[in-house]
């Protein structure tokens, strides 16, 4: 597609005038202040099928590390309850036996036995939580496969908690606000009586940032990317190394892959 000299000059002139005009009238977004941004400074990250790849070997290099969990819970105002019955989990650790109950056997390799795995919502391609939700407050985004939650619509019936085979959904039995150590004003808290879970950082992706857990990991054990893009890092990792998924026989088609 070519562009002739006349068109180029007209376009350049119009652009220059627009810029100058905006500067004079002061309507450039965010121009009125340096600290307040009304639009994100980076374009949103977009993909057709987001997925997470977890490298167990890299993660296990660092023992007792909880950086990804802390980062996630800080960004999303996840409360910390002492009573495990009230616990709210977006990202958490589960040992090999419970992460992969179908893969577990008595003499499984020492490298994996009792070792912690990072688990989160699998953003299934065929999510059972979505099927059972009576108010459609959870649904799969067609454009990128993220299983979203609409807290405004959630009536707290907990069907999705029962339906999720991975325990990825937590119910707010109590008002979470007093149990949030440090509130991030950019993200809402939740209220008593709604279900919540990992959202693959849809909020950060919209601002052009990678998920908080991925950014927080020094070892690069968590890799996030678009499975539909053949050049993406996740595709390359899955091509080179053997990966397993949690409870694949259930047919949920989970999108968090574990390199073992």
């Amino acid at each position: 597609m070519g562009i002739d000299r006349r068109k180029f000059l007209t376009l350049a002139g119009v652009s220059a005038l627009t810029v100058i005009g905006n500067k004079v009238s002061g309507v450039v977004p965010g121009a009125n202040s340096e600290d307040v941004m009304f639009v994100p400074d980076k374009p949103a990250l977009t993909g057709s099928r987001w997925a997470m790849v977890f490298d167990a070997r890299k993660c296990l290099e660092e023992k007792n590390c909880t950086k990804c969990i802390e980062a996630c819970h800080k960004v999303h105002n996840v409360p910390q309850f002492d009573n495990p019955k009230d616990e709210i989990k977006w990202v958490w650790k589960e040992n090999f036996e419970n992460t992969f109950p179908t893969q577990e056997f008595e003499n499984v390799t020492e490298q994996l036995k009792d070792k912690p795995f990072i688990v989160m919502c699998n953003h299934c391609d065929n999510p059972p939580c979505v099927r059972v939700c009576p108010t459609q407050s959870t649904w799969k985004r067609e454009k990128d496969g993220i299983v979203m939650m609409d807290m405004h619509r959630c009536i707290g019936c907990r069907y999705c908690v029962a339906a999720c085979p991975y325990g990825s959904r937590s119910f707010n039995w109590r008002d979470p606000r007093p149990f949030i150590k440090e509130t991030n004003p950019e993200f809402p808290t939740r209220t008593r009586g709604v279900v919540e879970k990992c959202n693959f950082c849809a909020d950060l992706l919209a601002k052009g940032k990678l998920p908080a857990c991925v950014t927080a990991c020094d070892k690069g054990a968590l890799v996030f990317g678009d499975l539909e893009d053949p050049e993406s890092e996740v595709r390359k990792l899955l091509k080179d190394r053997f990966a397993i998924r949690r409870k694949p026989a259930l047919g949920t088609n989970p999108q968090v892959y574990y390199l073992v």
Binding site: P29, F38, N77, M148, D150, T183, T191
Partner: protein
């Protein structure tokens, strides 16, 4: 009519008592009270105009917020383009409250006056911290 004097007197007393709130506010001058919300305060960037004209925002901000909510949460459509071409993130905490940072002076004043109290927004969305509180 029997006892007409007593009945008429009773009706009169009833009417006076029934309408007493109106007399009271007329006598004290409270009927002229209307809330005067603080739109923005110094130190906070003041755009010349909100995302829509002031009159629209006063009457229909709840409709705009409702639309923004659905568009952001349901459709992932987070950028709002105003009629004059300016762009804003559709966000209560991160856009609206950046200018109108004082919830007590901005939101609550009218909401209390109109007796719509505290909408559910603030059960989850975080209101900006106030200095000195």
């Amino acid at each position: 009519m029997y006892n007409s004097g007593k009945i008429l007197l009773g009706i009169l007393i009833f009417l006076v008592l029934f309408t007493s709130p109106f007399w009271y506010s007329m006598a004290t001058g409270n009927s002229k009270y209307y809330p005067d919300p603080v739109i923005a305060t110094k130190g906070i960037p003041q755009l010349d105009q909100c995302v829509m004209p002031g009159a629209y925002m006063r009457e229909s901000h709840m409709i705009l917020l409702d639309e923004w909510r659905d568009e952001v949460v349901r459709n992932g459509d987070r950028l709002y383009t105003a009629e004059d071409g300016r762009q804003f993130m559709k966000s209560l905490s991160n856009t609206c409250m950046k200018c109108h940072y004082n919830k007590v002076e901005f939101c609550d004043k009218c909401h209390d006056y109109m007796a719509v109290g505290q909408p559910d927004c603030w059960n989850c969305h975080v209101e900006p911290k106030q200095e000195g509180i």
